[in-house]
């Protein structure tokens, strides 16, 4: 095989990963890392580096559109980025000290967890969690317009949300993923922000979170340009097409199929990690 044909394979793999990541709502990173590690036999460290860069590209591209629509809450996003960037730096520093097997096992576990949460029922927002003084002091509130009305909201349980965001940042830095699912849980379930606002603001935060660990990965030599470019150039159009298709796909069968694929990847990452065959 030549370098050119391998690059073409990597590009089409990343395109598919970006598409599946967007269609399942899990993001490209969770598909790209197993694809590179299991499918192409790439060392997990190179895989994480390349994935992290594709995460910056896809989330920044999507965030640009959401921000312009005015759904993103920039104040909430900026405040919680303090948590995710701290977590991301810690995660990246830890990643350089743990074995690739340990990273693979954690990755498999997080992957299984993400698949499980993507099928949970939308939580009934019983009770409002009470007033939060921090939310009032920082002005963590906002409103957005729907076709029918103007919806006002204010963040609740800010310290707990902040804590979950530290964890989301750490997983992002450690595993080279966007941690979008966990970020949405922190805002939607914990802080009781509207789901639409949570997903848009999560997307807004992912790029900054990933950039906080990407710098460390560059200096540690985890970013290989020849491997990263087909991944970035493939994942970006894949994610863009996926997010366009998403509102038109009503079939749960397709989502179930993709989730099944990701579940299998999770088990294989766990197995390879435990048997030390990565």
């Amino acid at each position: 095989m030549t370098l050119l044909s391998m690059t073409a394979l990597l590009w089409s793999g990343a395109l598919t990963a970006g598409l599946v990541g967007a269609l399942t709502g899990l993001g490209g990173g969770v598909v790209i890392v197993p694809m590179l590690a299991l499918g192409f036999g790439v060392d997990v460290r190179y895989a994480i580096g390349a994935s992290l860069l594709s995460v910056i590209a896809t989330s920044s591209g999507a965030a640009a559109a959401y921000v312009k629509e005015g759904i993103t809450n920039i104040r909430v996003g900026m405040f919680l980025e303090v948590a995710t960037t701290m977590g991301a730096i810690a995660g990246a520093l830890v990643a350089t000290h743990v074995s690739t097997s340990a990273v693979a096992i954690l990755f498999g576990a997080v992957l299984l967890g993400s698949v499980a949460t993507s099928f949970r029922e939308p939580p009934g927002k019983s009770g409002d969690g009470g007033e939060d003084r921090l939310a009032g002091w920082l002005g963590l509130e906002g409103s957005y317009r729907t076709a029918l009305e103007e919806v006002h909201y204010r963040a609740r349980r800010v310290p707990l949300g902040f804590g979950v965001m530290v964890l989301a940042g750490a997983l992002s830095g450690l595993l080279g993923i966007g941690s979008g699912a966990l970020k949405v849980i922190a805002m939607d379930n914990v802080m009781r922000l509207p789901f639409k606002v949570s997903t848009a603001t999560s997307n807004f935060m992912i790029g900054v979170t990933a950039a906080a660990s990407a710098g460390i990965y560059v200096t540690r030599g985890y970013i290989d340009p020849a491997l990263a470019f087909p991944v970035v150039l493939g994942a970006l159009p894949g994610a863009l097409v996926g997010s366009r298709l998403l509102p038109r796909i009503h079939s749960n069968v397709l989502r179930l199929l993709f989730a099944g694929v990701i579940g299998i990847l999770a088990v294989e990452m766990l197995y390879k990690g435990i048997t030390g065959r990565l």
Binding site: M78, R220, I223
Partner: protein, 128 residues
């Protein structure tokens, strides 16, 4: 007055434009580097990524990457584009610092500076 020019909608538009332009610029540079790299090395055997060696020192610092890119190295140009990609969210945060400062929102100037500090800390090794 300053704050009327920095109203929220304007800031949203500016941030959205920064993100889009940054990603487009980064992708364009990466694509140019990729073309140069593949034209020169496309027919060679692909490297073995199964064994982690780490990138050579040159590809780990901004000055080294810049030097390689100016020399016309395909890998150097790709890596430069990837640096622009990492810089895109950083530019967005800098813009937010300016916007909050113009709005006189001191609390959020501090919050945003903390995020900027974390990003610069991460990039510090590459800048040295």
């Amino acid at each position: 007055m300053a704050w009327t020019r920095w109203n929220e909608e304007r800031v949203d538009q500016a941030i959205g434009n920064t993100l889009r332009a940054g990603v487009l610029l980064a992708v364009a540079i990466v694509a140019v580097g990729a073309a140069v790299f593949l034209a020169r090395h496309g027919a060679e055997r692909p490297p073995d990524y199964h064994v982690f060696r780490g990138e050579p020192g040159e590809m780990r610092t901004v000055s080294g990457i810049l030097e390689a890119a100016l020399r016309g190295s395909g890998r150097g140009i790709i890596q430069l584009g990837l640096l622009f990609l990492i810089a895109t969210p950083v530019a967005r945060v800098i813009l937010s610092v300016a916007a909050f400062a113009a709005q006189g929102d001191r609390k959020f100037v501090v919050v945003t500076l903390m995020v900027l500090g974390a990003l610069l800390y991460s990039l510090l090794g590459a800048l040295a």
